[in-house]
Subunit: 142 residues, 4 copies
């Protein structure tokens, strides 16, 4: 596995500085591992992400999928914060029981202008997949 262009500590520090609302101390997001072409991100459990039926909201999972894809892109091309999502498609597969989620991204394509990846989201207990997303990022000229 080729190493990440940035360390996990560096990624987290810069993301917190640029996106204080998303990566704030109590958001529960943590990068577990990052490499060239992918990463794993954890979303800690918070009652704020629940919706009726006692399950984690779809919006929390969409945010997690988008952040995980963003981290995978930055881990592969270095700090280019103006990379932006152009498409995200997500299927919600099962209602997760309350608890932390783990998202794993792999880039399917890393071109000069576009990166495409997929993200598998499962419960931390790992018993099953709860959502699956594919996403495209547009990469700005360096």
């Amino acid at each position: 596995m080729r190493p990440s262009a940035m360390s996990v500590a560096d990624l987290e520090a810069r993301l917190s500085a640029e996106f204080p609302d998303t990566f704030k101390r109590d958001s529960g997001l943590a990068i577990l591992e990052a490499w060239h072409g992918g990463c794993r991100v954890r979303l800690g459990y918070s009652p704020a992400t629940l919706r009726p039926g006692g399950t984690i909201s779809g919006v929390a999972m969409m945010m997690l999928a988008d952040v995980t894809m963003y981290v995978a892109v930055l881990a592969s091309i270095g700090w280019r914060p103006l990379a932006v999502t152009t498409n995200l498609n997500i299927n919600f597969l099962r209602k997760p029981s309350p608890g932390a989620l783990i998202a794993q991204c792999r880039l399917l394509k890393l071109g000069q202008r576009l990166a495409v990846g997929d993200v598998n989201i499962s419960t931390e207990a790992g018993e099953h997949l709860v959502a699956h997303a594919t996403s495209t990022y547009s990469i700005p000229p360096s």
Copy 2:
């Protein structure tokens, strides 16, 4: 246009009670209009939704698309809060300048078990479309 199964005031009151984190007083979400088969929802501007480049974050627009689809479903079938998103696909078209957004949903299909709709998101100034989503909701047995 066939009227909504619930008034806008009733929809907002129940959504605020069930989803206090999303529909909290300062979230900026407001239902402008709802009818059988569709609705219009406004997301007020908040610096919290900005991302690098001074534009509104993709997560804020995904949340808006998902909420708008949910309101359109509830306006059509009445209060069934356990309806859940099974798929959401979104294309981000242009970087919105800072300001309020308007999302309009129309249901393309309203079946017994599934509802499918699309959502157009534009700036309130209305000069152009900034995102377009399609989404499927699973409808629980009544």
Copy 3:
């Protein structure tokens, strides 16, 4: 409505020459109208497109959606046959009864590098929508 960059007759002649397998005489595809930013395409009925249950196959509708988006792009930027689909998302809404289909495309975004559009497919009788697609094309440098 701004006129198409190419006439319908010219579009059909060039598409038949470049894609003889798709636009062959008996494929049933006909461009009804084209303008800058959109078009309407008809797919005639053929028993070959049926699948079990007596309905038109999903593959025939995906082909129709993709061709319609391609025609809308060419009508807007002129003859650039190397434009290619990068993403297509389609929802099948109702089983169409046997008969011709009409697809209408509008471009949601026409940039230098990417075009995004949606396509509504209905039966020619017009009673209802049978499928809805969104698609992105990558535009080669001119």
Copy 4:
């Protein structure tokens, strides 16, 4: 790996009988392997699937993705030909050089009413992924 509900020979015989246009002798489709929850399908090379630029058409890859998902569903639930696609999302990643394609499907969810899966399509030479699809099938009551 749990075995398929139907043998490959049985699947091919029934699909050829039900979908003579798609599974006809010269279509080049062959099921390489099938198991409960997935399968691999080969699409042989044919000049008819080419498009300008000498590459394989998107429509051929959409057909392959849809068929592969269908085979994975039938291999898991047995012969229920009225199962139908409700959604398909495909990203085209690289222009495949002329040659056979291999599609591999895994089901992400197999419920009573819905099955969701993803499909990776690569060249037979295997050097890289050329397309990635996710799809949902609606399963009729048995």
